[in-house]
């Protein structure tokens, strides 16, 4: 492919890039997640990819997460696009919600060259600290539009306890 085949609108690109950094710094402290491609990930080798930034051994992706709550439950949402439901593993351990999974690389045919590779593949793991104790056995999870949603009933209804500490 000549450079012209798919050229990104340059002005827009810089605007978006600057915005991306701002977004990253302001609100994504935890969202940047490392992906570790393994043997099962089936990544293309370096020689098949023209993207200079491509590293077959690792990848980063922004998995945006948020959490909200009412008196009875905590709801955690995590953006993990393009997964199979079966490849997501959710555990609750010591007041932390652990989400891990493996995103496999889909290869439709052996021909063709990868011109741009920005999406991350491989195994990842995210730990979300939970503010209050939850009933882990009653947790429910769903996956829709590439967003994982985990609903966790609180063990004790009510808002999170605030502990004041005096500074001496």
């Amino acid at each position: 492919m000549k450079l012209e085949t798919l050229k990104e609108n340059l002005g827009g690109f810089w605007d978006n890039l600057a915005e991306g950094w701002r977004h990253l710094r302001q609100s994504a402290g935890e969202a940047l997640t490392r992906f570790h491609p393994g043997e099962k990930t089936n990544m293309p080798v370096r020689a098949e990819v023209d993207d200079d930034a491509y590293l077959p051994s690792m990848g980063w992706s922004m998995l945006g997460g948020d959490m909200f709550e009412d008196d009875k439950r905590l709801v955690v949402r995590l953006e993990v696009p393009g997964m199979e439901k079966e490849d997501l593993d959710i555990q609750i351990h010591d007041g932390t919600l652990l989400v891990s999974g493996e995103k496999r690389f889909e290869r439709e045919s052996s021909e063709g060259r990868w011109r741009v590779m920005q999406r991350a593949y491989g195994s990842f793991r995210r730990a979300v600290p939970l503010r209050v104790p939850v009933k882990a056995d009653q947790a429910r999870a769903s996956y829709r539009n590439g967003v994982l949603r985990v609903e966790l009933p609180k063990r004790e209804p009510g808002a999170a306890k605030v502990v004041s500490i005096n500074v001496r």
Binding site: F13, Q26, G64, D66, P81, G82, W114, Q118, G146
Partner: protein, 126 residues
């Protein structure tokens, strides 16, 4: 994890005209290109695809509404829009674009125009 929902909401409203750049993969083969973009949180009816002349625009609106009565206690996803613009070369046939959207991943197939595809010329004995 700190409770900064008020700050986040305020910042989000002042950034309503900005958008996040979705990561993409592009593969080219002899017959065309396939483009995959990650747009998590965008339902099918909020995905916008537009081709005008040689410009391809991908837009998506995230609808992660907080249910009534619930309070946000942590938010990393505060930009509600995705947008990315590409310029397509003339050898691509924009009349025949195929699109699939599944679990937040958009997959576009843009074939090359017939004249740009390699042709096999058979040589027959006269």
């Amino acid at each position: 994890m700190t409770d900064n929902s008020a700050v986040t909401k305020q910042a989000a409203s002042s950034r309503s005209d900005t958008a996040l750049l979705p990561p993409v993969d592009v593969i080219e083969d002899t017959n065309g290109i396939t483009l995959c973009a990650d747009l998590p949180g965008v339902p099918k009816d909020r995905l916008g695809l537009q081709i005008e002349a040689d410009t391809l625009t991908i837009e998506g609106e995230v609808t992660l509404t907080i249910p009534e009565g619930m309070e946000s206690s942590h938010a990393e996803v505060s930009l509600p829009r995705y947008r990315r613009v590409f310029t397509l070369s003339k050898e691509l046939d924009t009349e025949k674009v195929g699109a699939e959207f599944n679990q937040g991943v958009l997959k576009l197939r843009i074939p090359k125009a017939a004249h740009a595809q390699p042709r096999k010329i058979e040589v027959r004995p006269a």
